[in-house]
């Protein structure tokens, strides 16, 4: 009975035929039970809307259209495809092709976009290329590597923006740097028990970023931003260190290190084996000029595309899948 009454109230409120108070008055015997349920439903309607990014939608659509022009893959051909996809050169080539197809741009324009900054004409192309690279990174190690590369882009942009005095964009960029590092950390953490090379790559990449930041000799005006980037990367390194410590017993048990060897990952010379694409580099200009305002952490990823707002009444979307 209460199930029917609840649904009746939800419909009435959604259609604007009643308010929450009207429903409670209409069903006084069930009001105590109904109130928190309707309140919960109301809160659900006010939650941030989550949507895929435009870049993701376009990239996936382009990939589907591209696939649909070919015969449906069989299992053996899929293995060949994924073998090809493991190559970082393949990632870059296909991502480039995707962006060219999506935006009808020349390869030269896409290449030029790599130096672009937020707010410029080519910047969306740069971001779309990054998303395409992420989309094409099918295994966790590749995804973490791409996130680290993107973090590197954000750092470079942050310094350039600070030089131009674009405080707001620089602040946004450092927040995105934080988000990319967190993405790389999250992916690496899930993989750590299976593959130590991922954490080695991420550790090395973060260490490289820290080194460049420390060598950047920022001006006093941009020192705060650089310090903040150092804090983000330092915090990530600390977290990785803890993860390594926790994973070390199982790793050493299976890999049989030389007794007395202090390094927690003795069998993987990953730093030397890492291809150039996995070694992030950052060119920091010597004298950035920027005075950043204080700002909190970036929001959760993926970011809701709609501004959060509180809807006092239940308002279910009038949506039909048919």
């Amino acid at each position: 009975m209460i199930d029917l009454i609840l649904e009746d109230c939800l419909k009435d409120i959604r259609d604007g035929h009643a308010t929450l108070a009207d429903c409670l008055a209409k069903y006084p015997d069930q009001a105590t039970e109904l109130a928190p349920l309707l309140g919960m439903a109301s809160a659900l309607q006010a939650v941030d809307e989550v949507k895929p990014s435009l870049e993701f939608r376009q990239a996936t659509r382009a990939r589907l259209v591209a696939l649909s022009s070919q015969p449906v893959r069989r299992e053996h051909s899929r293995q060949t495809w994924f073998s090809f996809m493991r190559s970082s050169r393949a990632y870059a080539a296909i991502a480039l092709a995707l962006v060219i197809v999506m935006f009808g741009l020349s390869a030269a324009i896409v290449d030029a976009s790599s130096e672009s900054l937020p707010g410029t004409l080519l910047y969306p192309v740069k971001r779309a290329t990054e998303q395409a690279q992420l989309f094409l990174a099918t295994d966790a190690a590749s995804q973490a590597r791409v996130h680290l590369q993107i973090a590197n882009h954000r750092l470079t942009e942050m310094v350039a923006l600070s030089q131009q005095g674009q405080d707001h964009l620089a602040e946004q960029t450092i927040g995105e740097y934080d988000a990319e590092i967190n993405n790389a950390l999250e992916i690496t953490t899930t993989q750590i028990k299976q593959n130590n090379s991922s954490i080695q790559n991420l550790t090395q990449g973060l260490a490289n970023q820290q080194k460049k930041l420390q060598e950047s000799q920022p001006s006093s005006s941009s020192e705060k931003l650089v310090q903040r980037a150092l804090t983000i990367s330092g915090k990530a390194l600390g977290q990785l260190s803890r993860i390594k410590s926790e994973a070390a017993p199982s790793a050493t048990a299976t890999e049989q290190p030389t007794p007395g060897t202090p390094t927690p990952f003795p069998t993987l010379p990953a730093l030397l084996a890492t291809p150039p694409a996995a070694q992030p580099t950052i060119d920091l200009p010597p004298s950035p000029k920027f005075t950043p305002p204080d700002r909190g952490k970036p929001s959760d990823v993926p970011k809701p595309t709609r501004e959060p707002k509180l809807i006092p009444q239940i308002k279910l979307p009038n949506l039909s899948p048919g």
Binding site: D3, M40, A43, L44, K51, P52, R63, S68, P302, P321
Partner: protein, 182 residues
């Protein structure tokens, strides 16, 4: 389900890429939200969403239009991918963490008065039973009607209404508890 959609599906079965692209446009947001609220790692949402449509395209030739709508088939693919995701990538949540406390007095409308973020909701939804999760996401996030949710889940409407009742109650208790323990 509209005739329009049935025609699109029939064309997609014949590997008409434009028809399939229209189906993609129609469902990508819903599938994305479904996966977002069913998984805990944001980095995987894009990947899993893309996989749903790639798998759908690969196996669209096997789809036969029955009383079950195309959306049900698509959500089934998403559901199976989420299960695979948890099997391979996520540690099991201890049962004791899922237990609900029944003796908490629910603060009336408190949740509606404070902003509920998508991240908070995702964490709370993860603590519901599988069926409750499906109903909350399909009904309140994806915006389907009760009858449509019933078709998507292959259940009757009465069972879905009951699930809706229990799911809202459980969610309210979980969020009240999390608010009480900042």
């Amino acid at each position: 389900m509209s005739i329009d959609e049935r025609a699109l599906v029939e064309q997609a079965i014949q590997h008409d890429s434009r028809a399939f692209a229209q189906l993609y446009d129609r469902y990508v947001d819903k599938i994305y939200k479904y996966i977002y609220y069913k998984t805990g790692a944001s980095a995987s949402v894009d990947d899993l969403t893309a996989q749903v449509f790639l798998k759908a395209w690969e196996s669209i030739g096997n789809y036969r239009w029955t009383e079950h709508p195309f959306a049900a088939w698509l959500f089934r693919i998403a559901h199976n991918l989420v299960i695979d995701y948890y099997r391979t990538r996520r540690e099991t949540v201890p049962l004791e963490d899922l237990a609900l406390e029944d003796n908490i007095t629910p603060p009336l409308d408190e949740l509606a008065q404070s902003h509920l973020t998508s991240a908070m909701l995702r964490q709370a939804i993860a603590q519901l039973t599988e069926d409750q999760q499906q109903v909350i996401v399909l009904k309140f996030i994806d915006g389907y009607e009760i009858d449509q949710v019933a078709k998507l889940l292959g259940k009757d409407s009465r069972a879905v209404r009951s699930l809706q009742h229990r799911a809202l109650g459980a969610l309210q208790r979980i969020l009240s508890k999390s608010k009480a323990q900042p």
